[in-house]
Symmetry: C2
Subunit: 220 residues, 2 copies
DNA sequence: TAGATTGTTAATCGATTAACAATC
DNA sequence: TAGATTGTTAATCGATTAACAATC
C-alpha cells in the first residue's frame, strides 16, 4: 500500500533540500499563528517561484485547497512525515575538537529531533571529558554504542586526513548516513548516504563572489 | 586586459563548487609529491566524470598537456588565483555561542587563508571573554572593526530569530558576503553574496535518505 | 457567482555527458 | 611514430518555469 499513488518514489535531492526549507518556514508560520499559506507566499519568503513550490509539493502526500492555499498544520505534518522529521534520529559525533563539541551541544539539533547519543575521540587524553551531558569515549566503544542504540547518522568532525578511516569505522559499526565536516572527499558504499557540510568550500564560494564583484580598478 | 579571453566571465556556482574540490584535492596531491594529474584521475578521486572535470577546468586560465595531464603546481596556482584563494580573506563571527566560538577557532580556516578578525555577541555578559586569541566584543563595535579592517565576510552564528537583524547590521557595516549558519532564510541586497551552511538541512537530508533506504517491512 | 489558487502538463533553460579532432 | 589525453562542440539529461484547465 505504500506506493499506490506514486508518492514514496525517491524524491530528487534538489527537491528534498527545498522541502526542508518549507518545513522550517512552515514551523515559523505556525508559531506566528498563521493557519494558511499560499504557494506565492511561500515562494516569496524563500526566494523561489510559486511554480517551483507547487511542483515540489506535488511530491508529498498532501493537497492544498483552491483559493486558500495550504493549511500550515497539515503541510507541516506532511512534510515532517515525508522527510522522516516526525521521528527522532540518533547521531554520534566523532572528533571532540571545537567543531565536534559545538555540534554535539547544538540545541537546535535536539529541538528538531536529532539526538546526539555519543561523542568519540581517538585521543585517549580526551576520554572521559564532558561535552554537554555526554562523556567523550574512545573509538573502541564506537561499535557497541552504534549497534545497541541503533544510531542512524555519524558526524565526522576529525582532522581531514583521518576522515576516510573514521567514516569506514562508522559504516562498519552500522550507521546509514554520514555528515562530513572535513574537506576530505569520503567514499561510501551505495547503501550509505553522505552529505558534505562544505564549510571551507562555502567560504571559498563567498570569497570568489566577493572577488568578482569587486569594483574594477581603472586601467592605468 | 582582464577579460580578453572569455575567462573572468562569471563562473556558474555549480562549477565554482567543484573548483573548490579540485583545489583541495590538488593541494593533497602536491603534498603527496605528485607532479601531474589527469582529468580521469581527478574525476575518479572526486566521484565525477572526466568530461565534467575538463569542462570545468576550461573555465580557468590554465591548460593541460596532451598525454600528461595537468601540472599539479600550475593547477593549484591557477585554481587559487581564480577563486581568490591566493589572498587572505577577512571574516568576522557574530554570535559567541558554541558554534561561533568553534568556527572562530577552526584551524583549517586560518591555514586556508581565512582570517577571523573579530567575534561579536549582543549579550553584554559575553563581552571580554576570550575566544582563541580574540576577545568577544559588543555589537556596537562591529561597524568600526568591519570598516577599519576591510572585512569581506560575516559569519552569522546567532539563534535563528536574530539572523536577519544581524545580517542587516553586517551589511550596513560593509561586509560583501555572508555565511549563514542558522536555519533562517536571510534576504540580502544583490551586491551582497549569501551562502547557507545548511547544517540542520543536511541532517534532514540524511534522515530522509536513511528513511527511504530502510528495508521494507513485509506486508502483514 | 467571479476570481484566486491549485495541480499538472508542456516549454525552456542550464548543466552534465559523450564524442572526437587536435596534439604532445 | 602510435597512443593517450586534452579542449571543445554537440547531444542528452534533468531541473525550473510558464501556462492553463480544474475547482473551491
Amino acid at each position: 500500500m505504500d506506493s499506490k499513488d506514486g508518492h514514496n518514489q525517491k524524491i530528487p535531492v534538489a527537491v528534498v533540500r527545498r522541502l526542508t526549507k518549507y518545513l522550517s518556514h512552515t514551523q515559523c508560520l505556525r508559531q506566528a499563528g498563521m493557519d494558511w499559506v499560499s504557494s506565492t507566499e511561500l515562494a516569496e519568503a524563500l526566494g523561489l517561484t510559486s511554480s517551483t513550490v507547487r511542483q515540489d509539493l506535488s511530491h508529498i502526500d498532501f493537497f492544498g485547497i483552491s483559493k486558500r492555499g495550504y493549511s500550515t498544520a497539515g503541510l507541516e505534518a506532511s512534510l515532517a512525515s515525508t522527510l522522516g522529521a516526525d521521528r527522532e534520529t540518533s547521531c554520534v559525533v566523532v572528533g571532540a575538537g571545537n567543531l565536534g563539541r559545538a555540534l554535539a551541544q547544538h540545541e537546535e539539533f535536539s529541538r528538531q529531533g536529532f539526538r546526539i547519543c555519543g561523542v568519540f575521540d581517538s585521543n585517549p587524553a580526551m576520554a572521559g571529558k564532558k561535552v554537554g551531558k555526554l562523556l567523550v569515549q574512545g573509538m573502541a566503544e564506537l561499535p557497541a554504542v552504534v549497534g545497541e542504540q541503533v544510531v542512524d547518522i555519524g558526524i565526522v568532525a576529525v582532522p581531514f586526513p583521518a576522515a576516510q578511516q573514521v567514516a569506514d569505522w562508522l559504516i562498519v559499526a552500522g550507521v546509514r548516513g554520514l555528515l562530513n565536516l572535513t574537506t576530505a572527499h569520503i567514499i561510501v558504499p551505495r547503501k550509505v548516504s553522505l552529505v558534505d557540510a562544505r564549510f571551507l568550500a562555502s567560504l571559498r564560494e563567498l570569497a570568489y563572489a566577493v572577488k568578482i564583484s569587486e569594483p574594477r580598478v581603472p586601467a592605468g
